[in-house]
């Protein structure tokens, strides 16, 4: 029987520099090792039915990423069983938080995600008060025209919140931000970092969670 599961997982250091396309393969192999029978699409070259919520860009870490998998097995699988099998054959870079069974007809993850929260650590030293000022100035700007892949767009409306993390442990300064993550209207943390006048490459970005709009 065909079943659909939603897996909440952390993407950690070993898979940090893996693109979402390559991550698709990593998941496919992970499920095979775990003996979980992935369902395949029909047609000339059948593809495994596996859907990532909102692709995590290369170089980012994720604390609560979501993937939907369709499994086809003779007997019904319980989500606890799926979770157990995944834990037996671990995949470096994936830590399972939670597995839940969801209805086959539930809307696709990609359509439900509306925003994402990020923590961004600055790997270069920075002055906290100067940074606070820059943030305030950026938030007061009505529009922030930026260019990405040859297209100009306005970054400002994609920033829902942005603040310096004050009580953060460790010796790196960190920012907390919530950015829009709708299809066709997604904010990227390193663009915010660049807009703040900082080196967009010298950062560690963790997506802490995806915000899902309750299906209407």
């Amino acid at each position: 029987m065909l079943q659909r599961f939603r897996i909440d997982y952390a993407k950690t250091q070993p898979l940090r520099y893996v693109s979402s396309l390559d991550l698709q393969k990593v998941w496919e192999r992970y499920l095979r090792r775990a003996g979980l029978p992935l369902a395949y699409s029909h047609g000339f070259s059948p593809q495994p039915r596996l859907q990532q919520a909102h692709p995590l860009p290369l170089g980012y870490l994720g604390a609560h990423e979501l993937v939907d998998v369709w499994l086809e097995s003779a007997a019904e699988l319980l989500s606890a069983e799926v979770q157990k099998r995944l834990l037996i054959t671990p995949q470096p870079g994936i830590e399972i938080n939670h597995v839940e069974s969801i209805p086959l007809e539930a809307p696709s993850l990609a359509k439900q995600v509306v925003a994402a929260d990020y923590t961004v650590w600055l790997l270069d030293p920075a002055d906290p008060s100067d940074l606070t000022e820059r943030i305030a100035r950026l938030l007061n700007t009505p529009s922030l025209t930026r260019e990405r892949r040859g297209k100009t767009y306005d970054l400002r409306p994609l920033i829902e919140s942005l603040a310096l993390l004050t009580d953060h442990p460790g010796n790196l300064l960190a920012l907390q931000m919530r950015l829009a993550a709708r299809e066709g209207a997604s904010g990227r943390p390193e663009e915010v970092i660049a807009a703040l006048g900082l080196d967009p490459f010298a950062v560690r970005i963790l997506r802490t969670r995806l915000l899902i709009e309750p299906s209407s």
Partner: protein
Amino acid sequence: MDIRVTHPQEIETWLERNLMRVQKPGRYVGGELNQVVKDWSSIPIKVALVFPDIYEIGVPNLALTILYEAINQRPDALAERAYLPWTDMEDLMRAAGIPIYGLETKHPLGQFDIIGITLPYETLYTNVLNLLDLAGIPLLSAERRADHPLIIAGGHATFNPEPMAPFIDAFVIGEGEEVIHELLDTYKAWKFRSGNREDLLLSLLGIPGVYIPRFYVPHYHADGTLQSIQPTTETAPAIVHKRIVGRLPAPPTRPIVPAIDVVHNRIAIEIMRGCTRGCRFCHAGMVTRPVRERSVEEILNSIRQALQNTGYEEVALLSLSSSDYSQITHLVERVSQEATQQHLVVSLPSLRIETVSVELMDRLKGKRQSRSFTLAPEAATDRMRAVINKPIETHQLLETARAIYQHGWTKIKLYFMIGHPTETLDDVRAIAEVSRQVLAEGRRMVGHRASLHLGVSTFVPKPHTPFQWLPCDTPELIQIKQRALLEALRGSGIKINWTDPQETLLEAWLSRGDRRMAEVIYYAWKLGAKFDAWHDYFDYEKWMIAFQMANLDPAFYTHRQRDLEEIFPWDHINPGVRKAYLKQEYLNSLQGILRPDCRQQCYACGILPTYKELRRRYPGQHWKCPEVTVHART
């Protein structure tokens, strides 16, 4: 280069700040499934295994996969991996003084005991120099001290080690599975007695199959040909015999599973080693003898284990000539049963041109199928086929093509070579003629969906083959032949790829060079040559200048017909096949005499007498040499 960072933690910190500035940062971090990380401080012998090209090319290499597993299974040794950084990363590393490091623990390569480099082909040579430089290790073996890593190289290209002789401390000729342990044991004993470098190299001379160029000196005739290569110490063997294993050990079943895409992302299981067909151009066919097979059960068990350990969706059954595996039908039947159940793609390269091959592939199709079917006729006229000893009749090729299109494949790839000995323009044009006939079969079967691709490479006479006496075509002649072929294909709709004549020349002089060629390689690298195997990166002009700087003539290596009695720079390296046999085969080729499969009849290539004791220790059907009475030669 000047190394300014040596602590793994500092390298990690630098990586995090810089990886997003380069293409494909996943190449530089390690951490893949099945990576083995051992405790650096408590393991006495540390080995870095290097494929001298980028990660995507290097990871699938089977030789290093075997050695990685073998070394890491020893409690007293660890193996890590390193690949060459692409140029964007190299620039950043050089600017910051970051050394090339082992992926597992990020220790600089200079801190390992041994660096083992695989050289399956010659166009990697400048990358080896770049690697040593990026590790801060002196390029010349003679300039290294006791605290520098021991630099070892092996692989098919090292059957002529001379062009790389000054840069490598020790070459290991032949198969590595057994000799690696002897090397590590010898190294460990030396390390514990704290000897000097000379002492280490002298003790390595005691291992059969190890060639240490420092203990040999070449003498040349006035015309530049070799007079002799003399050992300079009593314990250096005059002839170094390649190592082979008497029985193939179990294949590695826990390979690294890269998280980024690489050239071959799949399980590779060697079903047999060696080839009995005796194609006269084929280097691999001469240097990997004798044929030894694995049993069907062993192969199936290995596939099952490897699938469990990797989750891969593709398995490749490797050998030089799959059709010649004695149990091929049975194997394919068993594998295909598993394949259909598991959405597994099974590839079986190097099939003979016969309809049986199509039936085999058809069984393996499973639920997913590759769209193209590859065959390698190599030559298009009967005369040419007799010269190279690969007798495939055109009607056989056409029948096979018909079967391929009939079974649902729409694309065929054919590999041909131009530049074969005694080849004429008519032989070249015949490639177009045969190809048109093949495509016509497809058009009859599946109409306009049928397509045909030709891969036309240029022949390079390789050391240790019957053609080692022959010159290589000049670039002018190669171009004339390529143009004639293109002309003859015009309007056919057949796609064609070929090798740039200048790249062919590079391969020719590197593979046939003597020890003086090392200077050319050094100057070329100094001028910036690297990634010579990459079409967009190869720079012919740099090499021409390097030849001038070394005061050598490339034509001496590439376009010269050798005298039958000439001493070659690789004659002191013995692959088990006798030079007299190669000479006889060369003369046979000139008369168009065919030598069919040597499993049926022994042509005394030399393997059996060379390895008769090994054969005695490993009797049984897995060796495919026919039983012959071997008389010890006096």
